[in-house]
Amino acid sequence: MDFDLSDEQRLLKDSVDRMLADRYGFEARKGYRAAPEGWSRDIWAQFAELGLLGLPFTEAHGGFGGGLVDTAMVMEAFGRALVVEPYFATVVACGALLRHAASEAQMETLVPGIAAGERVLAYAQVERQSRHSLNDIMTRAERDGDGWRITGEKSLVLHGDSADTLLVTARTAGQHRERHGIGLFLVSADAPGVSRRGYPTQDGLRAAEISLAHAPAEALGDPAEALPILEQANDEMLAALCAEAVGVITAMHAMTVDYLKTRKQFGRAIGENQALQHRAVDMYVSLEQARSMALYAAMMASDPNPLERQRAMHAAKVQIGRSGRHIGQEAIQLHGGIGVTMEYAVGHHFKRMTMIERGFGDTDSHLAALARLGGLIAA
């Protein structure tokens, strides 16, 4: 057991931290969000230069061979800085799907473009009725010669408006909600039959509603048995989100402690009030618990036993959600008035944390799922 970073990891962490410190202040981020796509192609190129966009792919495919811990490290840094670029959509989510589903040939076609920052991907999975279920899919794919044609409505597609390539789940067989009969498909965003409506999200990112009408598609892997891969990839996404959340709440906690030490009322720093100190301590305990569970998630997301893996991911999301809500609400409360304005960073972190907590299954649904699986400890 070893919690220390390797030399390579330390190097990666330092370069990411440095870049964000230089380029990703509060005002700079505002500028990136104001761009037409809602994020900065320039920053994206910087990510490519640092090797971040190829991070999780093997060197054979033009990547850097990083593991889930490396991704977690990057995501934590991105969480602190509230990065708005489509890193999660392209590299984490679609990266995981490709690694598990794509053929060698598909990897060779796609990965170099991703790593170079030329290709932006989005994962089109959610549908209006699906809520947190991965197999509640009504979009259908039908054979069309060598390829497929997809018809359906996909919703809440993160960065679906600026992506050039979409990974779309669709049903090739089976009844609604059946676990079998689901495939994963590659769809070009400018293909005929694809229409998109982009919009901002509550946390300052972008998403899209996507309509597919006989849109031409290429299958990634078995077109009827993609669900285990979707689940595996989903768990890796959860691990990355947990790491991002740790970055978000670390920042909120640090800002709060700093505020308590500097803000003066009645002639002294408000942090001299023991009641507020104790609340900052409870936030810290909560933060350390979340940090621990994000590490656990990074460790368990590649566990070969799917049941153990899912138990762990449910547990991690629950802890992250609870700690995140606690720390977020307290951070706002202890900041007082400025906490509820857009003019101060803490509120932006709060909003991102809220969306992480409630995205990809909210805390209640993960807790219920974990309970149904019998919890973490065998009786």
């Binding site: 901002p200 509550q202 009645f266 409360q333 007082g336 857009m342 709060f350 909003k351 969306m355 909210d362």
Partner: protein, 399 residues
């Protein structure tokens, strides 16, 4: 002891409900029910209807439109207003500056301001908080220097709610900087927002809207007639004013209306085949909030009943309990609504930039997250819950 409402009180409740549900336009009430802000026009419309029926300022002196009701009647009036999603008469007018003018103002001020204030012909905003003087209000630095028959006001106010709509502002300003204690030497001054030298800068709040503002005073000349009461006694008037919002602060009726809506929506929203309202975990969370809310309603009634025996000019520390628990429960309802909406809390509906596309996801989704974000303020403003705890510790527990 009889803990039930009397027949008269029940009849009064019927009368209030009937008024609110038939006289206030449905579009306004629907908007409140959906958790959306009402426009300036809608606020004015609703208040003028109430005022025309003598229901805008029932707690004022009878001479200026008050109704001489019992505390229980005032409670029922407010509860029905909240439960039926009627926007309350503007608090800055009816609970804040109005009672101060009625109690401490000159006859001329009363005539000039009270009828217009009750009818929302004048929209007031409040100039108390300053940067660096939030909870520690008395350390305010805005000055009003006497210059002939004017005060010259300089300084900056912040968290000024809806200053962008306001016609007048009531301000605390320092008239005697040399006073021994910082609570002394402060005066209560009324200022026309059209006076030269006033600048309003909006502050965007978390959910993306603009409710609060910064207000700058740069050599703003205010006639001395606009001083309320005596010079340097403003702190007393401010304390009187802040003690006025006593029991309505729990907003039990608002939370009740929201729970009804949540139940309604939870019957529409499904997780797989099951309606959210049938999910045991969710409905137990909901029931737990309902329990606390019922307890708070009873607590509020106890405080209301106690009002008869109290000096109305003194703040009632029990109202701090109503504030603490009331804010927690209002905030809890915003989380329950997000539970119902699920993943569709994510899209941001950009009203302001003129988006008139249909909403993404269910039509009730768009307000869920913004209300959660916005309502974090409820435990902060009007004396944060931490300040309320300090008050209870001192005034009730005797620490």
């Amino acid at each position: 002891m009889d803990l039930r409402f009397t027949a008269e009180e029940n009849a009064f409740r019927e009368r209030m409900r009937d008024f609110f549900t038939t006289q206030i336009p449905a579009d306004i009430r629907d908007q409140v029910q959906r958790g959306e802000h009402v426009s300036r026009d809608q606020q004015v419309t609703a208040q003028r209807i109430m005022n025309a029926h003598g229901l805008a300022v029932p707690h004022w002196p009878a001479e200026w439109g008050g109704q001489d009701w019992t505390p229980v009647q005032l409670y029922i009036y407010q509860d029905e207003m909240q439960q039926n999603c009627v926007p309350a008469p503007l608090g800055f007018n009816t609970n804040m500056v109005g009672p101060v003018i009625a109690q401490f103002g000159s006859d001329a001020q009363k005539k000039q301001f009270l009828p217009a204030t009750a009818n929302l012909d004048i929209w007031w905003c409040q100039g108390f908080s300053e940067p660096g003087a939030g909870s520690d209000l008395a350390s305010l630095r805005t000055t009003a220097k006497r210059d002939g028959d004017h005060y010259v006001v300089n300084g900056q106010k912040t968290w000024t709610t809806l200053a962008q709509y306001a016609d007048w502002i009531f301000c605390l300003a320092r008239t005697d900087p040399g006073a021994a204690k910082k609570q002394q030497g402060i005066s209560f001054i009324l200022i026309d927002m059209k006076t030269p030298g006033i600048t309003v800068r909006p502050i965007q709040t978390l959910e993306g809207g603009v409710e609060v503002n910064e207000v700058w005073f740069d050599d703003v000349r205010v006639p001395v007639e606009n001083l309320v009461g005596e010079e340097n006694r403003g702190w007393d008037y401010a304390k009187f004013l802040l003690g006025n919002e006593r029991t309505g602060i729990a907003r039990v009726g608002v939370s009740k209306a929201r729970i009804r809506r949540i139940k309604h929506l939870a019957a529409l929203e499904h997780v797989g085949d099951r309606a959210m309202i049938d999910e045991p975990h969710f409905r137990e969370k909901l029931a737990a909030v309902e329990v606390e809310l019922k307890a708070l309603e009873m607590t509020q009634l106890r405080v209301v009943a106690d009002e008869r025996k109290r000096d109305r000019a003194l703040p009632n520390p029990a109202s701090s309990i109503l504030k603490i628990k009331g804010s927690e429960l209002q905030q809890a309802t915003t989380e329950l609504l997000m539970d119902v909406v699920g993943p569709y809390i994510l899209p941001y509906d950009d009203h302001e930039h003129g988006s008139n596309e249909p909403p993404v996801g269910p039509e009730y989704a768009a307000e869920a997250a913004p209300t959660y974000f916005n309502w974090r303020k409820i435990s902060i403003y009007g004396g944060s819950n931490e300040i309320q705890r300090n008050i209870v510790a001192k005034a009730i527990l005797g620490f």
